[in-house]
Structures are given as C-alpha cells and as structure tokens.
C-alpha cells in the first residue's frame, strides 16, 4: 500500500516518514511511505491508498479531497500532538485504520 504524507516543504514530514518506515518494518508491514510538498503533490495523489496532511498544511485539505474523494482515497489531517512528537507508530496506525475503511 502507498501512504502519502503532505506538508509544506516535505521536510518535517520526512522525519515522520522515517519513523513510520521503521514502525512498519518492525511490524512486517509492506508499505510505501512518501513525504511530499504541497507544490509537488499533484503527480503522486492518484496512486495513493491513504493521504495524510501535516497539521500545518491543513489548508490544502479541501483541494486534496476534491481530487482524492472521487477516487475513494481517504484524506485526513494528522493530530497536532501526534505530529509534534513525531510519533511514527500512531500515524502508521491512523493510516492503516483509514485504509481499512476504504
């Protein structure tokens, strides 16, 4: 499955992505997790299974949903506390949970 994280420059999100990858590896989950900036997100959105936004980039939520919802891709904003503490486990849980609903 492919999990896409979006923040402004893709910088702080890439820290989180590294932690999520570790968490996924520990649980033997095969997931492709990438961090994108809001300015390059368009190309990648179509192939995603789950899209998560950093809380500071929640201003693109409507725009992303406009593209993703018709395709049935769930989009959510990551909780600030979880984001701030860079809790990879919790974000991975969130992504898996959303993918299940799909």
């Amino acid at each position: 499955m492919k999990i896409v994280l979006i923040c402004f420059a893709g910088m702080s999100t890439s820290m989180l992505v590294n932690r999520m990858k570790k968490a996924a590896a520990n649980r033997n989950i095969n997931a492709d997790i990438v961090a994108l900036s809001t300015s390059d997100m368009y190309e990648e959105l179509d192939n995603a299974d789950v899209i998560l936004l950093g809380p500071q980039a929640r201003y693109v939520l409507d725009e992303v949903r406009e593209i993703a919802t018709p395709k049935g891709i769930p989009v959510e904003v990551i909780n600030s506390q979880i984001y701030g503490t860079m809790n990879g486990e919790a974000v991975l849980d969130m992504a898996l949970e959303l993918a299940k609903i799909k």
């Binding site: 506390q81 701030g84 503490t85």
Partner: protein
C-alpha cells in the same frame, strides 16, 4: 485569554485556512518555490564573482583574464535577469495543474503572452547617438525582477482563460484513436488563439497611453508604492513577522503563506542589493526575503532558543526529551516538533512569546542594520534550511551577521523563559501526579 483563543480558533483559523488554500495564491506561491533553486544557483555565481575578500578581483584578472568577470556572472544573467519569463511559466503551470488541465500548454501560452505585453525593442548608445534596436528580448529590465507583477497577473489571466475554454469544451476535438499527445496539442489551439489575440489587443491599448506598456503602468501604480509602503520599512517588517507568527499560532505555516504574497515586492529590493554589490557598493536595502530568513532562527517563531531552554532549563522529563528531539531539525530551521509538541500552537501561553520574540529581534536587527552596526543582506539567496549563525554570515557576507544571530537567540531566550517556566511547572506537577488524560499525554 479564553476570548483570544476562541477568536483564533473559531474566527481567524477558518478565514486563514481558506486564504492559504486559495487556488491563485497557492499557484503564485508554488510557482515561486519551483523557481527558487535557479535563484540559489544564480546567487552562487555572484558569490564567486564578488567574494568578499580583499584582492579577489585582482586575482581573478590575473588568473583568468579581463573577460572572466563578465563570463562567470552569466548564470546570474540567465536566472535573475530574465526571471519574469520563468515566473510567468511556472505560475501558469502550477495554476493549470491545480485545475488539472494541460499545464505545459498553459506555461507556453504564459510565456508568449508575457512577451506580447513587454517591449521587444531596446535602445543603445553608439558614439553618443541613440539607436533603437528592434526584435530584442532584453536580459534585465522588464524581463528581470521589475516585470514580476505583470508576469504574475499574466499567468493568472492566461490560465483562467485557458481553463474557461477547456472546461466549456470550446476546443478542437480530435476523433478517437488519435494519440492523446496530439489531441492535447490541438485542444490548446482555439484557446491559444483567443489568448494571444487578447494580449495583442492589450498591447495595442497600452501603446495609446502615456505608459506605452502595461509594465510601466503597474510599476508606477502598484509596485513602487507597495515597495515603499509595505515592504521596505520597519513597520512593514514588523507587520510581516507579526502575521507569520499569528498564522503559526493557529498551526498554519505562516511563512509560506505570507512570503508567497510579499515575495514579488521583496525580489526587486534584493535585486537592487545585488546590483550594488556587483558595482562594488554597499547594499542599500535592509528588507529582503533573507532579512526574514535571518529572523526565523530554528524556524518560525525563532524557536531554536526554545529548544535550548527545554534542553537545559526545563525540569519536566517530557520537555527535556522534546528539546533533545527538536535540536537536530531546529538547527536546520525546521520546528514543527516544538510548534505541535510543546505545543505552541493554540496554546494561549505560548502565543505571546511566539509573537513577541520575532517582533523584538526584527526591531533589533533592522536598527542594527540601519545604524550600519551590522552588514545588510547582500541579496544572495541561500536555502532557508542553512543552519543559523552560518546563515547570518552568508546572508550579510560579514561576520557581524553571525554575531547578530547569536544576540537574537539570547533575546528570544529571555522573552520565552518566563513562559516556559510556567508551562514547565504545570507539566512537572502533572508528571508527579501521574494523572494523565490519555488524549493529552505525550508518547515519547
């Protein structure tokens, strides 16, 4: 205090979120961001040409000959000095992308339209007489930083028109079986024709006015007043820093949002500084985008100071851990861990120093530069992730810039200290009682 928080959360946040996500503002912002690497590359060659070391100019001539100075600056000429062409293309591209229409065609149409609105001749002096040369796209002038506003307007108008035609289906449709690339190229034909005609008409209309070109009109009516009123003074700087911090207080990336709006007015100021450096003079302008890069030590809110306070002064275990975890990203001016982890965002105690700190050092830095105690930004662009202190040195080309950033960190630490102390005391009490509300506990 609750009233302020209520206002921020329920009134300001929805408004700001909408503004930040606004399609056209986003396209302008993203268009500039895509072009940034080229400006950084161009900057590098200015540093090579004008490295702030005595004897470097003479050494260049000695090693590489007289011509070298103008040769090595060419990368700057083809980035900065025709940047309006790039900007019109990249903004058209980004806007078309957000409409999910053929973005490459939009970019091409943007370039053609921009040139159609710009002088395609220039004058040169030969032995004291002025000659007009036609069919010339100049390196510099309206094609450079002065044409940016027209480039932005052109990009938005052209892409809007293009989108209108595509969405209304006013295009030549190819029969099925024609390769998509071919049919896409043809679908740009009708809208392109109308857009080019419109631009030709606008050119004709402006030629009837004393302005001659839309550039002169926009420059005198919008760019110059905005530059002097909003951009190039201390109040404008404080306003900029205040708005960015306020947006961060509700957890939105204020820097991206505000810089996206202000950048068109900052770039010419920065370009003027570069021109001065090239001419061997001191930079005239204090306010450039890099002035603000110097303020955000450790990221928005200048929170590297907070990282140090948490690491060395906090008694709460969680805060110490948070400080340690935030140090590495903080050194590269990334501060989301502090913003969302402390948290500063939507924390009425945190919002006060979040705004006060940067405003205080903006005043200090501006005055220090105005009094010539500290060198002004040279106009060279370095990536915003460059670690503080080194960053101050590179931006100003002088050691005083580095020292200024150290002073800034100390000032911000002083401002934050009482607030961190309050939060820390509360957190320690919570840690001792071990009564965590599960939703609030930090899982570190």
């Amino acid at each position: 205090m609750n009233k302020i928080q209520d206002f921020l959360e329920n009134k300001f946040a929805p408004f700001a979120t909408k503004l930040a996500g606004q399609r056209h503002l986003a396209a302008i912002r993203d268009g500039f961001i895509s072009f940034m690497p080229f400006l950084i590359i161009g900057s590098l060659f200015i540093i090579i040409q004008d490295f702030p070391a005595p004897g470097w100019q003479e050494l260049q001539v000695k090693l590489f000959g007289e011509e070298f100075n103008q040769f090595i600056i060419l990368p700057k000429r083809v980035t900065y000095d025709i940047m309006s062409l790039y900007i019109v293309a990249s903004i058209s591209y980004k806007l078309a992308q957000s409409y999910r229409i053929d973005s490459f065609s939009a970019a091409m149409l943007g370039i053609a339209s921009f040139i159609l609105l710009t002088p395609i001749k220039t004058t040169i002096d030969i032995n004291g007489t002025t000659h007009t040369v036609s069919r010339v796209i100049t390196v510099g002038g309206w094609y450079g930083t002065n044409g940016i506003l027209v480039a932005i307007i052109t990009a938005l108008v052209v892409t809007e028109m293009f989108n209108y035609f595509i969405k209304k289906g006013i295009i030549i449709k190819m029969p099925e079986g024609v390769p998509p690339a071919v049919s896409r190229a043809f679908s740009a034909l009708v809208p392109g024709f109308v857009i080019i005609d419109t631009m030709l008409l606008v050119r004709l209309l402006f030629l009837q006015t004393p302005y001659q070109y839309i550039h002169d009109f926009i420059y005198k009516l919008v760019s110059l007043p905005m530059q002097s009123m909003v951009a190039n003074n201390l109040l404008g700087a404080i306003g900029t820093v205040f708005s960015i911090s306020l947006l961060w207080s509700i957890g939105l990336n204020g820097g991206t949002i505000v810089n996206g709006i202000m950048r068109p007015f900052w770039v010419p100021l920065q370009d003027a500084n570069l021109a001065a450096i090239e001419a061997g003079k001191l930079p005239p302008n204090i306010i450039t985008e890099q002035f603000f890069d110097m303020i955000w030590i450790g990221g928005a809110g200048a929170t590297l100071a907070v990282v140090f306070l948490l690491m060395f002064r906090a008694k709460s275990k969680q805060y110490r851990e948070l400080g340690k975890m935030s140090l590495a990203p903080g050194l590269f001016n990334i501060n989301e861990p502090i913003m969302f982890g402390l948290p500063v965002v939507l924390n009425p105690i945190g919002i006060i120093p979040l705004i006060l700190g940067p405003v205080a050092i903006t005043i200090v830095n501006y005055e220090a530069m105005a009094l010539n105690l500290v060198a002004r930004p040279t106009g060279v662009i370095i990536p915003w992730t460059t670690p503080p202190i080194i960053q101050g040195f590179l931006i100003t080309g002088h050691i005083s810039g580095a020292i200024l950033q150290i002073v800034d960190i100390l000032i911000v630490m002083l401002i934050w200290w009482p607030f961190i102390a309050i939060m820390d005391k509360k957190r320690v009490a919570e840690e001792n009682e071990k009564v965590y509300n599960k939703g609030e506990s930090l899982k570190l």
